[in-house]
Symmetry: C2
């Protein structure tokens, strides 16, 4: 768990040597700042193994978001990092493992965010549901680049057990936690009700992600959070207030 988050020295190196790859929509221009700050590392020819791997994974995300999974070549990933073709095979066994590690990286990142969101709202189930919801739409988690990659993998999930296995266990775990949270908010202790509420809220999260990916004009993350708050207020009026509708 957390192989990409394990105290690795994430100094302020600029891992994006090739700026051509960074032309995503302006709104998200500040994500992953840790790998962008100016630094002499720009011209550094070699980098410690783990840092280079991280950079290549980020470049993979860029490529998938910009060109789609089918049009993502090893050479593109390397070029996106300003390096030469052979580099990817040197750090990852094969394209297959590169993609698997990319998915794992995203899953890990999400998992960390989940844990943080739960920890920051101490013991109060209602607060935890709210902060989990907000976490789902934080720019660092929910942005066009990352969502595009998630959906690219979803499309392949059925055919590549590796992909679904990687997320299945986490998903089950999340559902379980949600059930517990909802369970303690429904006073009737109705298991089925808590189960259904959990599925619904998680489905709502997913559906809103999808809309943010496909209809960014109609939709944004603030609107998404408000929709979820609205839903919570409908489901559990004693525990949640309707969000501010002024906007």
């Amino acid at each position: 768990m957390g192989i990409f988050h394990c105290g690795m020295p994430q100094s302020d190196l600029n891992l994006h040597q090739n700026s051509v790859n960074r032309d995503t929509t302006a709104k998200e221009s500040s994500e992953k700042d840790l790998v962008r700050t100016q630094s002499p590392a720009n011209s550094q020819r070699t980098l410690p193994r783990e840092l280079r791997r991280l950079q290549l994974i980020e470049s993979t995300i860029d490529c998938i978001a910009k060109r789609g999974l089918t049009d993502t070549r090893m050479a593109d990933v390397a070029a996106g990092a300003g390096l030469s073709v052979g580099i990817v095979n040197f750090h990852f066994d094969s394209k297959t493992t590169l993609l698997a590690e990319t998915l794992r990286y995203l899953a890990d990142e999400y998992h960390q965010a989940w844990i943080e969101a739960r920890n920051e709202s101490d013991e109060d189930p209602a607060k935890q549901l709210l902060s989990l919801t907000r976490m789902n739409f934080e720019p660092r988690i929910c942005n066009q680049r990352r969502i595009a990659v998630w959906y690219a993998f979803f499309g392949e999930a059925r055919s590549r057990p590796t992909y679904s296995n990687l997320c299945q266990q986490l998903d089950d775990d999340y559902l379980d936690q949600m059930r517990t949270l909802f369970g303690s908010l429904f006073d009737d202790g109705n298991e089925r009700r808590a189960h259904r509420a959990s599925l619904m809220l998680m489905a709502l999260w997913d559906g809103l992600w999808q809309n943010i990916l496909l209809n960014p004009d109609v939709f944004n993350t603030d609107e998404a959070v408000r929709a979820c708050e609205h839903w919570l207020a409908c489901m559990l009026p004693e525990h949640f207030k309707q969000p501010d509708n002024s906007a």
Copy 2:
């Protein structure tokens, strides 16, 4: 609009000559029966152009669902229909157009189902919302094969404007219709509320589809419909009843 539904003679030919391709989960074994019934067409060497195209598109759906978009080859599509390699390029200009036509086929099918669902519930907005919801989870529309294909395209949507353009206009139209339906159910005539409700219900549909694709164990279409009904009852208690919770 509707190029695949335009009075083309959809006789009871068995378009699936190669049964190897049909091993999806047993539950969905009865979809697209029109192209499976036993008939001498099984051994027919030639078929009218439009019918062959239809068969190849269905084979494309099979391939994408089973192997993923990245691993779908022209030869696989041909083999899935029991035909030889050159056939696909004979009926479609290129792989690109084959995929675009496949997406258009699904979009069309969905669009037809949408219209039917609206027509069958005469003028009553509440009934129409219900039947649209049920339509979304009918086996012919919502099954692992088809959802897998939708998601494969979603993953590529950002990078291929062709794909998103194809659906964008329809989506906007659906959203518009939903706003009107909700608008006439909210007595306060609050536009914003109707807008948000529309987005939420459509997001819920999408999120439930996603769960049906990725977690078929936890999830099924009946559960999905009930979740939506539950949501409708929460949002508009005067117009909808809570679904039967006995199951």
